[in-house]
Amino acid sequence: MGRKILFVTTDQQRYDALGCNGGVVARTPVVDALAANGIRYERAHPQNVVCMPSRATMLTGQHIRNHGVWMNGVPLPAEAPTVAGLLHDSGYRTGLFGKAHFEPFLDPFLRFPENRMGVSGATHDEAGPHRGFERMEFAGHGAAGLVHYGSWLRDNHPEHMAGYFPVLDMTLEVNHEGGGDTGAPQVKHNTVPRGIYHTDWVADRAISWLDGLDSAEDWFCWLSFPDPHHPWNPPQSELHRVPWRDLDLPEGYPEDASERERLLDSKPAHWRRWYDGDLVSNYEAPARWVPATLTADQVREVNAMVHIQNELVDEALGRVLSAIDARGWDDDLDVIYTTDHGEFQGDFGLLFKGPYHVDSLMRLPLVWRPAPSSTGQPAVVSEPVGLMDLAPTFCSIAGLDVPSWMDGVPLPLSGADAANSGRSGVITEWDSLHPNGTEVHLQSIVADQMLCTRYEAGTCHEGTEGELYDLTEDPLQRVNLWDDPAMGATRHDLVGALDETLPERPAILLPAEAAV
């Protein structure tokens, strides 16, 4: 009997969401305890800051350019190798519960297997494991969508379907309407009872699957919570947890408009153009919403909703861990907790995400509680690691060789382990080709406590722009050192390291087959 693996992901969660990472609002005792007994990574970065590319990297252990999913809407090729497939082939039972998003969501003609499973209610592919998972039960960001949760809610609690905020509008753009007390975009007071909110449904489905496994079996369970991604509509019964009026504004939100604009103007042009409503470069934020209209109270209310959603995730994870403990598995259980990318949550006066490589979107929570029966010891790792290191880590836990098609390496067990591994930095990249003709291309490297972003020519940039931040001296990335002559050598070295680490772009880009 080997080690079991519980892989927990949230969606669009910031590093500072968790108590163990310094968060002071949401109570997250479950993941905090995992961190206290495990390894907490202070610089975990995604290889892309939107869902599909990032999740494809988690599943394959590959750079964006190697798995090919360069943006939301690009499906991971059906033949792509996956760590779930490796684990399944080595005898692991494999299941995924919650948000997958390896294939596009926006699929009116049901072109993709995940959506066909969601609509039909099938929990497995008749042809065999789908992307390595023998069981999959999907949830998305509400009642809508081609997912099992939506079908279940419609069949069992149709009166609560309308409780959720509609993520998309009637043109299928991300909905710019707002609600709640402040009219903040994608906020709504949700009438759905807490027990049937998707966070608890995901936990319930995972527990049900685990209950059906033989005690002697090894398993890999991806517990994939859709929260705290927008829409921000936790059950209204839970709003008392974090009254938004009592909330301090986040440190990253400059309340003074002139200060916000000064900061945005110190960055490449697309920052300010988006803020002013002059640019739609990607699908991930509402095209008809103008960030400059965001008020301080809206920032407070959005943040309150997110904190509540984070607490619900933590409690749901606690239920899953209790169920696992009751089976006597805990001593052999590895738990890895992370997310796919971050969220502005008011930083720089912005919400949502896009081609903006700063800690708001790039610094992620990552905690690994190794199996108590293993040799792992509590540690804090400050060296940068990437989500592409997750799949190799799962191989390592299972005693499998890391295959050559994976680009990542197993996560370090300690700071010393990281220092000895010769890691040279972590890459994050972005390419977007909006149907309106807007093109944005940028690549970043985090190394030696510096964050360096290089822009390629597109419709917003000439290809000479960049961003360079000292993460120690400037934790909010407010002082762009790219054009500082004193930083020329550092910039040169980091761009060189970026070029050395980044794989070649594929000769032919996979086609985007949906907006998301």
């Binding site: 926006l106 003609f109 072109r111 043109t171 149907p435 309106n436 949906a514």
Partner: protein
């Protein structure tokens, strides 16, 4: 506004291809993911595999030019949509061009991929008399 065109070469005379394209109620026979297509009073109602409906107003069926035009009118509420199927003779074969214009652009990529599939479905139906694409995604041909 976004605009895209998918094309495919079909090994059949243009009038034979046009007969299928012009029969608006037959679209579900060759468009993967459409479960039904009915026409009443110039409005085509599409039942989708995802469980929804699309309502399309047929703008023109030009037998002389072999051109079919329609616009999606609901339940999605686009600022602008135009779909056009053009059949042209190319030697002993036919070229079918499927163009769509759309604003806002959110559905652009999904429509482009789906119409790529649809042209393959149309080719299958016309050339073999059978429709076998099911839910298979386009493999590049015609997309």
């Amino acid at each position: 506004m976004a605009e895209f065109t998918n094309e495919i070469l079909i090994d059949a005379p243009a009038d034979e291809v046009w007969a299928v394209v012009a029969a608006a109620e037959r679209q579900a026979e060759w468009f993967p993911g459409m479960l039904s297509s009915t026409v009443e009073d110039g409005i085509r109602t599409i039942g989708t595999a995802a469980g929804g409906f699309l309502f399309e107003k047929i703008l023109s069926v030009d037998h002389e030019q072999m051109r079919f035009e329609y616009t999606i009118t609901g339940p999605l509420q686009f600022d602008h949509h135009l779909g056009a199927l053009q059949v042209d003779t190319e030697g002993d074969s036919s070229r079918v061009s499927y163009t769509q214009e759309i604003r806002p652009e959110a559905l652009t990529y999904a429509l482009r991929a789906a119409t790529g599939d649809a042209l393959i479905g149309l080719k299958d139906l016309v050339e073999t008399g059978t429709y076998s694409r099911g839910f298979q995604a386009a493999d590049g041909e015609g997309a």
